[in-house]
């Protein structure tokens, strides 16, 4: 993530901590699409992605006093999103990474302009074990450094590297088959 963008977000968060609603509005408009994208790539469910995204920002606002600007507020936001996502997945008690038909069904609904590669890629991502999938998505689509990912997921830096390595391997294997 570019330094300018980081600076801008930190500035907004400072203002949010002082109850500045317009800063929160800007913050929301800038980061909602990213959060939404993150949840969507984990679920491929529009409605659920919207819901979790909204809840993420509500909780961010509610815990604005605890956000520290010297430690990646964007990572904090993603942490909230990740927790809500995992709760939701657990409550649904669904095991994403296994059933081929289930995954096919999930992706089948309403995908219009999609080529084979994209379709296969979606399947590959869904088949990743949960931690691998989260790490991969955070790195590839949201440009988080490994250290930041470690913070979001509450794991060690080494684990992030290992799991990242595993993810790439699994995806390659799947795409080649």
């Amino acid at each position: 993530m570019s330094d300018n963008r980081t600076k801008k977000i930190n500035e907004l968060v400072e203002r949010i901590k002082s109850e500045d609603e317009s800063a929160f509005e800007e913050f929301y408009k800038v980061l909602y699409p990213e959060i939404y994208g993150f949840i969507f790539r984990n679920t491929f469910d529009q409605i659920q992605s919207e819901e979790i995204s909204q809840e993420t920002f509500i909780r961010f606002w509610e815990s604005r006093d605890q956000v520290s600007t010297d430690r990646h507020p964007k990572a904090y936001l993603f942490k909230i999103a990740k927790n809500l996502l995992i709760n939701s997945i657990n409550r649904k008690k669904k095991i994403y990474s296994l059933d081929e038909d289930f995954i096919e069904n999930m992706l089948g609904a309403g995908e219009i302009s999609e080529n084979m590669l994209e379709h296969d890629l979606k399947k590959a991502i869904l088949k990743l074990p949960e931690k691998c999938r989260l790490i991969f998505l955070l790195n590839r689509f949201h440009n988080f450094r490994y250290a930041e990912i470690a913070e979001i997921l509450d794991i060690s830096l080494q684990t992030v590297k290992n799991q990242m390595s595993k993810s790439i391997k699994l995806i390659r294997e799947y795409l080649e088959s």
Binding site: Y28, Y32, Q48, E50, R91, E118, R145, Y146, I168, K169
Partner: protein
């Protein structure tokens, strides 16, 4: 310096493209690439692969402003709810206490009441002042809350700004903001209500209860929320029931979802929707009643006004028992049996 092997070359590629290699490692890697043709080709291949990994499309977010309004409403409801509640109830409590206090405290409570009254008046004045200003500077506009409250044994029919209808059961409360239907359709419910929602794809209709939410585009459904119990039952259309964690249960006609306490939403299919909206079955029965009495009854039940354009119709006698579920159904039945015409004009029914 770590050697680049078959085992770890993928990791090297990934870290290099991610900028995760330290400066020394980076230089080492670039040198190795230059040295080995094979490695360079593999790296180029990986670069393409890495690029393709980014092709997972995500639906575009088109209505971000609406979404922000919806968010604001949801945040506001949880924060101001407590304050408004206190304001609303405290008036009654203090009023009662004035009469129950002992004589020695009488003087103090009078003073307190006067102060409270004064502050309420001031508050009202401030609101009026503020709303005058907001017509000029819309940027700082504070939307007002509208409340519909039913007492015990009371029921009401509410028509929302978007023409959606809400049938409120007794001891219930429905509230929404004054900018409802501008960029959001969010209502808050405590108690029970049956909803008939006008379709609007751009503004989903949301019912918020203590721990849950119901989200629809246009449909008919019943929502029940007292204390920590929540039940939603669908009469028509498709409805999304959501809990605090964002878990969603999708419901269709003759399906219901229930949640007790802070547990999961449990879905039930094949329900008899009539059971869930039994409370609405108020029977209006008439035996040889003159029409003006009938219309009186209808006025009380549905909270509307009626007006006889032709006064000779007032004496027409009506006998029958009506399921008081829908005003339109009753009017249709009456118009057929008595050969009268009903015309709806805003909140009035004109009989001729």
């Amino acid at each position: 310096m770590k050697k680049i092997t078959e085992e770890n070359k993928i990791d090297f590629f990934t870290c290099y493209l991610n900028g995760e290699l330290e400066e020394a490692e980076k230089i080492h890697f670039e040198r190795e690439i230059e040295k080995s043709e094979k490695l360079r080709i593999e790296f180029e291949e990986f670069k393409t692969f890495w690029k393709n990994l980014g092709t997972v499309e995500v639906p575009e977010v088109t209505d971000i402003n609406n979404k922000y309004s919806e968010l604001k409403e949801r945040i506001k409801f949880t924060e101001t709810e407590v304050k408004k509640n206190r304001n609303f109830i405290s008036k009654n409590i203090y009023h009662n206490e004035i009469f129950n206090k002992k004589r020695e405290l009488f003087g103090w409570t009078i003073r307190f009441a006067a102060l409270l009254l004064l502050s309420i008046i001031l508050y009202q004045i401030l609101i009026i002042d503020h709303s005058r200003q907001t017509t000029i500077t819309a940027a700082n506009e504070q939307p007002e809350e509208y409340y519909h409250i039913t007492k015990r044994g009371e029921r009401s029919e509410i028509i929302l700004p978007d023409e959606s209808k809400v049938y409120l059961n007794s001891s219930s409360r429905l509230s929404y903001s004054s900018n409802f239907n501008e960029n959001q359709r969010l209502v808050k419910l405590e108690g029970e209500a049956f909803f008939e929602i006008e379709p609007n794809k751009n503004l989903p209709f949301i019912v918020k209860t203590k721990h849950n939410m119901v989200k629809v585009v246009g449909t008919k459904f019943n929502v029940y929320n007292r204390d920590d119990e929540f039940v939603v039952a669908v009469s028509e259309g498709k409805v999304m029931a959501i809990d605090n964690q964002g878990s969603i249960v999708s419901l269709e006609k003759n399906q219901a979802a229930e949640m007790k306490g802070n547990n999961e939403l449990v879905k039930t299919t094949g329900i008899d929707i009539e059971q869930f909206i039994d409370w609405r079955k108020e029977k209006l029965a008439f035996k040889n009643e003159p029409l003006y009495k009938v219309m009186n009854e209808i006025e009380l039940t549905f909270n509307i006004n009626t007006f006889f354009k032709e006064s000779s119709l007032r004496g027409r006698k009506l006998t029958g028992s009506f399921d008081a579920r829908s005003l339109n159904e009753i009017l249709t039945a009456i118009s057929i049996s008595l050969n009268v015409d009903f015309e709806k004009e805003g909140n009035r029914i004109i009989i001729h």
